[in-house]
């Protein structure tokens, strides 16, 4: 069969079928079109300003390596005037993080960017390996996510940088949309898709310039530019809802390649339709770290325990049962009742931004989530963690924490 010519330049031989739209492209055109799309995202959303100092959250994985490479290229090509540097977090996961940090160190040399590495042990006194030893493999992503978010912010603050970019791609964002729909989480649905997060709450702005880039194209880009990155999966597993959403998205992509982008588009539209009174409700800012955690730690496995979904199922069934016990109050005939649509009737407490009393990190609570989690870890007697758990706003993780603590105690005795 004769070689197919590139769809764009019509000259060179096509070697790539773009996962996004199945166009057949040559190597040069693919690299160009990938970079141009990221450039358009950056311009279209006014992501940077000239002279801005930007830290790239670098894990050594494909996403952040491609992000660093693309930003360096675009910065030079389009004169963004950015001052770029790499910021890495050492979670302390042996066999996973050690090697990837070596990659980041090489990247720093290759891209001529300064690199700063911040360790969990240094910040919190606990490595992830130690956390897992204490709490078990389930639910440890909560710790990792909460700790990581703060760590990146603190690292940036230490460098005097106000903008951190992360390698979240379109697949991650689509997953988050589906996941939040599945667990009925409207507040997160309203913020999970935006390219810049939490700029209102924190001094540090966070953004994801690869938000519209397909994971598969990121891999292709890394491959064809022969980038030096580290392939591995986090050895601890992702939560059930994300696993379920991930499987679903992989199937959707097989049916219609554009669906990842289509979900992102739907998610963006729906975010704007979430009632204002629900948006900020319920979860503190640290929750944002959780929603990004699994996608951001490069974990690609779909292993699910289902525990989280089962727990929610139980809760919903109980709600249902309670509802059937309610007494209906009839409104007399002749009174026209307006349909009460949406949850507007419920008063929602406004969220106020405070600073953690211990570490001064921004929090909606007196004590920030990281410090609360640390409290649980630092106490020798696991039972006391239960009290901390109940006091926390995030019921989901508190119950998990409780169960884990109980289990830990049982096995200790």
């Amino acid at each position: 069969m004769a070689p197919t010519a590139c769809f764009d330049c019509k000259e060179a031989r096509a070697v790539i079928i773009r996962p996004k739209n199945r166009h057949k492209l040559c190597r040069a055109c693919f690299i160009k079109v990938f970079e141009t799309e990221v450039h358009e995202t950056i311009i279209g959303t006014n992501l940077f300003f000239p002279g801005e100092r930007v830290a790239i959250g670098a894990s050594g994985g494909k996403d952040s390596t491609v992000l660093a490479a693309v930003l360096k290229t675009l910065n030079e090509q389009y004169n963004y005037g950015l001052d770029l540097c790499l910021l890495s977090i050492d979670e302390g996961i042996r066999g996973y993080r050690d090697d990837s940090l070596e990659t980041v160190k090489r990247n720093a040399l290759q891209y001529e960017m300064p690199l700063d590495i911040l360790g969990y042990s240094e910040l919190y006194g606990w490595t992830m390996d130690q956390v897992v030893e204490q709490v078990g493999k389930k639910g440890n992503c909560t710790y990792c996510g909460v700790f990581r978010r703060q760590a990146l912010d603190r690292g940036a603050a230490r460098l005097g940088i106000k903008h951190v970019v992360t390698g979240h791609n379109a697949d991650d964002v689509a997953e988050t949309v589906m996941m939040n729909l599945l667990r009925g989480d409207l507040p997160r649905l309203s913020r999970g898709t935006s390219i810049v997060t939490s700029s209102d709450a924190s001094d540090i702005k966070r953004s994801k310039p690869l938000k519209y880039a397909y994971e598969k194209e990121i891999v292709l880009y890394a491959h064809h530019r022969q980038l030096d990155y580290f392939t591995t999966e986090c050895i601890y597993s992702p939560e059930a809802f994300r696993g379920s959403a991930r499987t679903l998205i992989k199937d959707l992509e097989k049916i219609r390649p554009s669906s990842i982008l289509d979900i992102v588009k739907s998610g963006e539209d729906m975010a704007a339709l979430v009632p204002v009174e629900v948006r900020g409700a319920g979860k503190s800012k640290q929750a944002g770290a959780e929603e990004e955690s699994a996608g951001g730690c490069g974990s690609q496995n779909g292993r699910t325990s289902g525990g989280e979904m089962a727990a929610m199922e139980k809760q919903l069934t109980e709600n249902d049962a309670a509802e059937s016990l309610e007494t209906e109050i009839k409104i007399p005939n002749g009174v026209r009742v307006k349909p009460n649509r949406g949850p507007t009737g419920k008063a929602v407490k406004a969220q106020t931004i405070k600073h953690c009393e211990r570490c001064n990190y921004i929090s909606s609570q007196r004590i920030c989530k990281a410090c609360t989690l640390l409290d649980g870890l630092n106490r020798n007697r696991p039972k006391t963690a239960i009290e901390v758990g109940v006091g926390m706003e995030d019921e989901e993780s508190s119950s998990t924490l409780m169960r884990q603590m109980e289990r830990a105690q049982l096995s200790a005795t």
Binding site: M178, G184, D251, S258, M312, E313, A321, N333, R341, G342
Partner: protein, 369 residues
């Protein structure tokens, strides 16, 4: 009078043997039907809130001969009869519309006997029956829209019959996902126009909770997230006709239970084809994939799936004042107000005209998929 000797009495009336278990309660068929009917009527109570002399709202109930819409019809009819017998005000009345299934499904399902049974069992209702291709009569501008939508690959031949023209248009759409998507849009438009012409204020759809969850997930996956506020939520459709989904609190399994205790429905309902295991995922339509997903996951986590539709129902309808709407599906062209995403900007590169929304553009025949 001595109490009846019952082995396992109904938990509600204690007066009959239990026949069905619903939400962990054992009920007799009468109490079961009452429970289901209550769930439906509470959803439609807004239409009842008039006094004795209030106007009677007309609703349109499209019946597909599937379980859900047939059960809905049965519930509404029972309630109506009950009210008439007791001299109570109706509040609303409804018309029945049948889009001939043989003109919709490719396999040409015979339905004449089912239709006869429908007329026989519900003689007091105004039942209309129209073929799918009547869309050209109900939406006169449809031929232009189709020509514009399908692009150069499709030539509309106005000398041919409407049936052939519709078939040609549908055949021009290549993938199962796009075909199902566009079919749904066309059916909705036909039903809406029929509702308007026959003076109906609202359309009451027979989507079960499970169906709505699948619709919500599929809508999101097809880039139609902004339209969920009327495709899944109760609310005003872009055509000025309200959409109601009164079965939204009931699972498909519960509707099947209802059907099993209603002898009248057995001749009307065309049973669902069991999903085939031999289809590759990539050959399914997105709607079908989501339906399967909701069914599979719903077996284990029914509440989680039900919650998807409830979540979608909480979204605010978008404010569409003067915003351009899609010529085909009436969805918003561009982004919802407040959405600064640039997916639409990326799309403009394709040099497509902007008279269609993002979701419809994805289902266009010319899309390279």
């Amino acid at each position: 009078m001595p109490a009846k000797e019952l082995n396992k009495p109904c938990m509600e009336c204690q007066d009959a043997e239990f026949e069905l278990t619903v939400r962990k309660r054992q009920l007799c068929s009468l109490c079961f039907k009452r429970f289901i009917a209550h769930k439906v009527q509470s959803r439609l109570s807004v239409y009842r809130a008039f006094g004795l002399d209030g106007p009677k709202t007309q609703l349109l109930l499209p019946v597909s001969f599937g379980v859900s819409s047939s059960v809905l019809l049965h519930i509404l009819n029972t309630d109506r009869q009950h009210r008439l017998d007791n001299g109570r005000p109706l509040g609303y009345d409804f018309k029945i519309l049948v889009i001939e299934p043989s003109t919709v499904a490719a396999t040409g399902v015979p339905f004449d006997q089912n239709y006869e049974a429908l007329e026989k069992n519900f003689p007091m209702h105004n039942i209309s029956r129209i073929p799918f291709h009547n869309i050209f009569d109900y939406v006169p501008e449809m031929e232009e829209i189709m020509q514009e939508y399908a692009g150069t690959k499709f030539m509309d031949d106005s000398t041919r019959s409407n049936e052939e023209r519709l078939a040609a248009f549908r055949a021009s759409i290549s993938t199962p996902t796009s075909r199902t998507d566009v079919d749904t849009v066309l059916l909705t438009r036909l039903i809406v126009e029929f509702a308007k012409k026959s003076g109906c204020e609202s359309v009451i759809w027979g989507d079960s909770d499970s169906r709505l969850a699948a619709k919500a997930l599929a809508g999101v996956a097809k880039g139609r997230g902004a339209s969920l506020t009327w495709q899944v939520s109760d609310g005003m459709s872009p055509w000025g006709v309200r959409f109601e989904y009164p079965l939204r609190d009931l699972y498909k399994a519960e509707l099947l239970q209802y059907e099993s205790v209603c002898a009248e429905l057995s001749d009307i309902v065309i049973p669902d084809q069991p999903p085939s295991d031999n289809v590759l995922t990539k050959n399914l339509s997105i709607d079908e994939l989501m339906l399967r997903y909701v069914q599979n996951q719903g077996a284990k986590y029914p509440g989680v799936m039900a919650n998807v539709a409830r979540t979608a129902n909480k979204l605010n309808p978008s404010t569409t004042d003067n915003a351009p709407t899609c010529a085909l599906c009436a969805g918003l062209v561009g982004n919802v107000k407040g959405n600064s995403g640039v997916t639409v900007a990326n799309q403009a590169e394709d040099n497509h005209s902007s008279q269609f929304c993002y979701g419809c553009m994805r289902s266009r025949p010319e899309e390279l998929c």
